[in-house]
């Protein structure tokens, strides 16, 4: 399933500690809260950039000015550059953030009240050995649990949900650019806006087959590049991060599109779901963890 990666020198790709061709990055703009396993490399943004580190300013200098608005997404583009240039033999790519990661088993038993698919885990229980074992993907994909935007009493989708939470015109423009960049075809643009299943973190959290991840992050990058050039948003306060919000949804759609092409079958009646054992939801979904001692998830805290 996953071939063993040929050993490289640490200068080229320090992910050699990963068991199976896995290049795993952790995007951070602050000092890390836990001691991540040796196979996880830190991609440093903003104030966290250090001499000799994998810095955004060195890996993707064109994205450096946009970091305040793109947040971790700028780090994702930098990590892609690193993987393409320094880890060409990686078969799988993993990505976590300084306080969020996906594990293949449950590590914490408290769920965030405002984000029920996210487990709250105290940093004290996350030793390096626990993380080393829990973050290793058991198969080709390791994803956070997807959740339905629709419920038994109301239907929703990316467009409606985005309009409730943010400024809807941004998602419309982002989708238009995705069509123009040929990331989505015209029928998919409609399906994307009508999609009601969201994979938290999109293509920026979890483990993915390298060819899929590189191709799709490259596609995502092309859309974001046009958007930041065409629509300056720096005056917008919280919603200035619109392209990052839109990217999470497009990333989620691109991953779901790929997973739905795999074998297995799922029955869905609104929020009720049942799947065959081969279906991706039974094979590739782990737990999304938030490293915190607090009682709830606070965006951007």
């Amino acid at each position: 399933m996953i071939g063993r990666m040929r050993a490289m020198s640490p200068v080229e790709c320090t992910a050699i500690a990963a068991p199976r061709g896995l290049a795993y990055g952790c995007v951070t703009h602050v000092p890390l809260l836990v001691d991540y396993p040796a196979f996880v490399e830190s991609i440093r943004l903003g104030e966290a950039q250090t001499e000799g580190g994998l810095n955004l300013r060195d890996l993707a200098p064109e994205w450096e000015p946009h970091h305040p608005l793109l947040g971790g997404l700028a780090g994702t583009f930098a990590w892609k550059r690193h993987v393409v240039e320094r880890c060409p033999e990686a078969t799988h790519v993993g990505l976590c953030q300084y306080r969020k990661f996906v594990s293949h088993r449950r590590l914490g038993w408290r769920s965030a009240k405002s984000y029920s698919s996210m487990d709250l885990v105290s940093p004290s229980v996350l030793t390096r050995s626990v993380l080393d074992e829990a973050m290793r993907p058991p198969s080709d994909w390791l994803l956070s649990p997807a959740f339905d935007l629709s419920s038994w009493r109301k239907s929703s989708d990316y467009l409606t949900q985005y309009g409730r939470a943010h400024q809807i015109e941004d998602l419309l423009r982002f989708t238009a650019e995705a069509v123009e960049q040929e990331v989505l075809d015209k029928a998919e643009a409609v399906a994307f806006l009508a999609e009601d299943m969201l994979l938290p973190g999109g293509i920026e959290l979890g483990v993915f087959p390298a060819p899929f991840w590189i191709a799709n992050v490259t596609a995502l990058e092309s859309v974001v590049r046009v958007c930041v050039r065409r629509f300056p948003l720096s005056h917008r306060g919280y919603d200035a991060r619109a392209w990052a919000f839109c990217s999470e949804r497009l990333g989620s759609y691109l991953v779901l599109r790929q997973l739905r092409s795999l074998s297995g079958f799922e029955w869905r009646v609104r929020a009720w779901r049942a799947a065959t054992p081969k279906h991706w939801s039974r094979r590739f979904v782990g737990r999304l963890n938030l490293i915190t001692s607090a009682d709830d998830y606070v965006i951007g805290a």
Binding site: E169, L172, A176, V179, K186, A189, V190
Partner: protein, 296 residues
């Protein structure tokens, strides 16, 4: 009321015919021809004179540019107009059916042969009489109640979907569509062909609507230099028709006391269509067989 119509502005009605080709029908004297593109000529009411800022965008806007020009003309010359009418060189809305022959491709439209429209008959057909609104009969994209294609999906099938997305984004930015209105606009399954650019409307409503459409179209042409070929050339006009249709639907549904999405949609549609819908007609040449309407 109808007998008083002799010149534009009589009975408060100002009615334009928008054309980019020389007119071959004998339109009545109370119709104002507005010329676009190659049809413009000295001494006429031309787009380039009435709205020179829109003249370069005529290929992307088609007759919609003429509607913007006509709005300026009415404001300037007929400030007391109470009703506005708009038709095109080969399309108009009549109160009653004329030919009874449906277009084979576009069932909501009748095909009328040019020879049937002598000046007197055309005059009679175009008169709205006392009607406050006279619009095209509504069309549903889907006939089964459990499925809705909606404006977005229908647009994606026939045109370039990114244009409608951008147009809707600009409409939100300019305050023409509310943020929570966008999903409803995209899901709307009833269209009034021609939107606010084909038929007769109360002047206050028409100015408010056409100004809104113009504001959005301006934002789009300023931001995007999109040029498309062939049948997709009039991209912003296609979007303007849908926005106009949505604004019109909201108003007509309000007239019959249904909500913005129509309440019990089919019931409210029956009620407002009975009051306000006429017949859309396409004029065709007698000597050329008509295989079906092709936009553009």
């Amino acid at each position: 009321m109808s007998t008083e119509l002799q010149a534009p502005g009589d009975s408060g009605l100002v009615y334009a015919c928008l054309t980019h080709v020389p007119l071959t029908l004998a339109f009545p004297s109370w119709i104002v021809p507005v010329y676009l593109g190659q049809a413009q000529h000295d001494g006429a009411l031309n787009l380039r004179d009435l709205a020179p800022d829109w003249a370069p965008h005529h290929p992307q806007l088609g007759s919609t540019a003429g509607a913007f020009a006509f709005a300026r003309l009415v404001r300037e010359r007929y400030p007391n107009a109470s009703r506005i009418g708009v038709c095109q060189y080969r399309k108009f809305v009549s109160r009653d059916r004329i030919s009874g022959v449906r277009d084979p491709r576009y069932r909501v439209m009748d095909v009328v042969s040019r020879s049937m429209l002598d000046p007197a008959r055309l005059d009679t057909a175009l008169r709205p009489d006392a009607a406050e609104f006279l619009v095209t009969a509504p069309r549903r994209f889907t006939r089964v109640f459990w499925h809705r294609r909606g404006y977005l999906k229908e647009y994606a099938r026939d045109h370039c979907v990114e244009d409608l997305l951008r147009f809707a984004a600009a409409a939100v930015e300019r305050g023409v569509l509310a943020r929570d209105e966008v999903p409803k606009f995209f899901r709307e399954d009833v269209i009034i062909p021609g939107g606010v650019e084909l038929g007769v409307y109360p002047a206050a409503f028409w100015f408010e609507s056409i100004d809104a459409v113009e504001l959005v179209a301006r934002a789009c042409v300023d931001r995007y230099g999109t040029v498309r070929d062939g049948s997709q050339a009039r991209l912003w006009s296609f979007c303007a028709e849908r926005l106009g249709s949505w604004l019109l639907l909201k108003r007509l549904r309000r007239e019959v006391h249904a909500g913005a999405s129509g309440g019990v949609e089919w019931w409210s549609r029956l009620r407002w269509a009975a009051r306000y819908a006429g017949q859309l007609n396409l004029v065709v040449d007698d000597d050329r067989p008509h295989a079906g309407y092709v936009a553009g």
